[in-house]
């Protein structure tokens, strides 16, 4: 259909909030993907489906059958949705566990165990209708009781849940309530118009488990997903088979075979030897397969980033002019091209990644300006620059990033000494006073992808934030954050976001110079591998290319 007709039919779908988004789409401000995301957010479920959105790579009729062989890292501990934190375990969990909503990197929020959702006027109470007739692998039907128990478990400080920080200030014990067998309500601690993201796959712990789940996940892998457990060998791997009772489209592959690797080199060799079809990717591995026609590098844009925090309560960074000066030394385009091989987008020193529809795109992008940096330093009384120590973790590309920052800072006379620690030493106890991450004067910390900027905005920059390494205490910011949480439509969200972005650029408590993409490497023999930027691996639509 023509765009004109399409827009008219879109207008008939919902109220004013929706129409703001549709207008933006018509004017070309809002990308189609973001429109879909937004549709999902305000509960216009089925919209994406009505738009004839198939899965990527589903152009040809995919054939069922076969075994998908997957290489993953070594899970760091026993696999349990409640406590999971590592990418390998999330990859295993995605075969069997499901969420109320899947945050698909391409299509936004997709209803899974929830059919639809809506908020009240204040966005403080959210109600979710559950998909009827969904069964756990052990044959029991999923009811509101299981869903409520799953969330109550995650917000219980004594359960060892690793989702506590995600729900802090959003959802507390007693917040999830049974309305009837197929309806669940959440009473939030404060208004939040992005709450659907919080019960989606973005909070990877939020897998729906039976109400009587007792923490012995590895015995049964009892979930609702398209595959069910065949065998599991701790530290070795796991195999899953098609779940014939799955509520949705049955998985195409007969089996999924997962093997754990301690070493990424061994992983890429196994892929090259044709013994694996899918492996996670790192910058180093990408070099190994570059230009090889037998492999594909699949990427999704993410909001993951390495935040450089500047302690606003300690010299030399108490003066915001000094903080701005350091930020102005960085050539972001060069960092994206050189360090991240182009698989990233430039950041503008705020957590509002360009992939978030709520980000205000009209806020000007900060660019390298050494003259201005020197002028600011002189104005702040340090015309010849200063010495400072940058503390960070030996992980991913971060040590290289630290050296790049060191070199750029030199141009304005800022002399950075590097202190690179092992990752766990850097995090320390993750509490103020005994964590180099939270105590260092200047540091770089890796943050994984989230579907909304909320957790970055709250945890890393709010006065009371648990991860506020910049020790940024700004009442104006805190007030703007409340406005942002209350904003009920995209336009209002974007206005609030614009104010936050402008304030953060002026204050510069942290430097975010890029948002990375998340990649996986697959053999060209397989089609339909999907994944999220936080390591979910969705294999139910995988088919094998007929040679």
């Amino acid at each position: 259909m023509t765009k004109r007709n399409e827009i008219d039919s879109l207008r008939n779908m919902s109220g004013d909030i929706w129409n703001v988004a549709v207008d933006e789409y018509a004017k070309g401000y809002l990308k189609r993907r973001d429109l879909l995301k937004y549709a999902a957010l305000i509960g216009l479920t089925g919209f994406a489906a009505s738009q004839g959105l198939g899965f990527s790579g589903a152009a040809r009729a995919a054939t069922a059958g076969g075994t998908v062989r997957v290489g993953l890292g070594q899970p760091t501990k026993a696999i349990d949705p409640v406590t999971v934190t590592d990418p390998a375990s999330i990859g295993v969990l995605s075969q069997v566990g499901e969420y109320l909503i899947l945050d698909d990197p391409k299509d936004g929020l997709q209803p899974k165990l929830a059919l639809s959702w809506e908020a009240d006027e204040t966005a403080k109470r959210w109600t979710f209708k559950l998909r009827p007739g969904v069964k756990f692998h052990d044959g029991r039907t999923v009811t509101a009781k299981d869903v409520v128990a799953s969330f109550e478990r995650l917000v219980d400080p004594n359960s060892g849940s690793s989702a506590l920080s995600a729900y802090k200030g959003i959802l507390s014990k007693g917040g999830a309530k049974i309305v009837d067998d197929e309806t669940v309500a959440f009473d939030l601690d404060q208004s939040n118009s992005n709450f659907p993201f919080y019960v989606s796959s973005d909070v990877y712990n939020a897998v729906i488990l039976p109400a009587d789940y007792a923490g012995d996940f590895e015995k049964t892998f009892n979930g609702t997903g398209p595959f069910k457990l065949e065998s599991f060998r701790p530290k070795q791997g796991a195999t899953f088979v098609r779940n014939a009772d799955y509520w949705g489209d049955k998985a195409l592959p007969d089996r999924v075979e997962i093997k754990f690797f301690d070493d990424e080199q061994a992983q890429v060799v196994a892929l090259q030897a044709g013994q694996l079809d899918v492996i996670p990717s790192t910058t180093r591995l990408e070099l190994a397969i570059e230009g090889n026609p037998n492999f594909k590098l699949l990427s999704v844009q993410a909001s993951s980033h390495d935040a450089v925090h500047l302690r606003t309560d300690q010299a030399p960074f108490t003066d915001k002019r000094v903080r701005r000066a350091l930020a102005l030394t960085l050539d972001r385009e060069a960092i994206v091209k050189g360090l991240l091989k182009g698989r990233a987008i430039a950041g503008n020193d705020t957590p509002f990644a360009p992939i978030f529809p709520s980000a205000d795109p009209s806020v000007p992008q900060r660019k390298q300006d050494i003259a201005e940096a020197k002028r600011l330093l002189a104005e702040a009384g340090v015309p010849n620059g200063f010495e400072v120590t940058l503390t960070t973790e030996r992980a991913y590309d971060i040590p290289d990033y630290a050296v790049i920052i060191q070199n750029f800072a030199k141009k304005a006379g800022i002399d950075i000494k590097l202190n690179v620690l092992p990752q766990d030493a850097y995090y320390g106890s993750a509490t103020f006073g005994s964590s180099p991450w939270l105590d260092s004067n200047l540091g770089i910390t890796d943050f994984g992808h989230r579907g909304t900027p909320d957790i970055f905005l709250n945890a890393t920059l709010k006065s009371t934030g648990a991860w506020n390494a910049a020790h940024f205490k700004n009442p104006d910011y805190d007030a703007l954050l409340v406005d942002y949480g209350k904003a009920r439509d995209l336009q209002a969200q974007r206005v609030a976001a614009g104010k936050i972005q402008t304030l953060l650029l002026d204050e510069t408590p942290e430097i975010i110079s890029y948002f990375s993409q998340y990649s996986r490497i697959t053999s060209t023999k397989v089609e339909g591998v999907r994944f999220t930027a936080i390591s979910h691996l969705l294999l139910d639509r995988v088919s094998f290319v007929q040679a």
Partner: protein, 319 residues
Amino acid sequence: MLTGRTLSARAASLLLTLWLVSALIFLAGQVLPGDVGRVMLGPFADAKAVAALNKQLGADQPMLVQYWRWFSHALGGDFGTSLSMRAPVAPFVLQSLGRSAALAGIILLFLVPLGVGAGIVAGLNQGRWIDRLIVLAGVSFGIVPDFVSGLLLLLVLGLWLNWFPITGAAPDGAGFWTSGYYLILPALPLVLNLAGYLARMTRAGVIEALAADYTRTATLKGLDRWQVISKHVLPNALTPTIAVLATQSGYMLGGLVVIETLFGIQGLGNLVLSAAKARDFPMLEAGVLVMATIFVLSAAAGDLVQALLDPRQRRRASP
């Protein structure tokens, strides 16, 4: 001569060594940063929850109390519960010990004939080209670190020639032969690395035995060369070789972290490494203790074998 007294003294020192090792590991675990509760709940867990868990696990007790509790349980074969795997430690350690033993077995299967055979050939042909070639090859292979040769062999034999699977872990339900076949490629780097050393030890023993009085006597008695070599030279020549092998076996059962990691074999070395990474103290303690036990025992076994074979240390019935 071996007496009961030397044996019991050995056993006592063995136990003392092991006890010291256990205490040292425990101490090391205590001075590492981070605490048990934090390890289990991850860096972002609520501080209250961490404190509660530490209390529940007794990790807030004084060190001596914790050590005694661990030690007394360990004596009864209970190594506690793994923090990361949330399951008893003992089965994990036993399984990985089994995998390490299988790998060590395959290594020895190739290493002994190759190393000892080459050493004997070199020793009997001292100074000739074959001797020089064996010594040179042994030294050359010996200086290549196992992670380099491991990766090269993996690329050549596994990836290009496709002769071997590139992981050491056989699939579920693989039989004895298949499992062994999967371990050949991981074993090769060690075979290459150690064969030269073993050959040199054997060669030295052979040369020494050939020059010894008893060999001359045997030759003068009119025994043919083969009888002289098999009856008189080799038994004496191989004594130091066997001692070396015993010590090396100890190293193979837990010292092969690089190879185990590269080939994805969940052996003892790998178990200890991942336990250390995850700060899984019960697993780490048990793994290192088992490793230390094997080291100490294999060294003791080496001494014992040497004592039994050494003509000066045993009563020999006159021929």
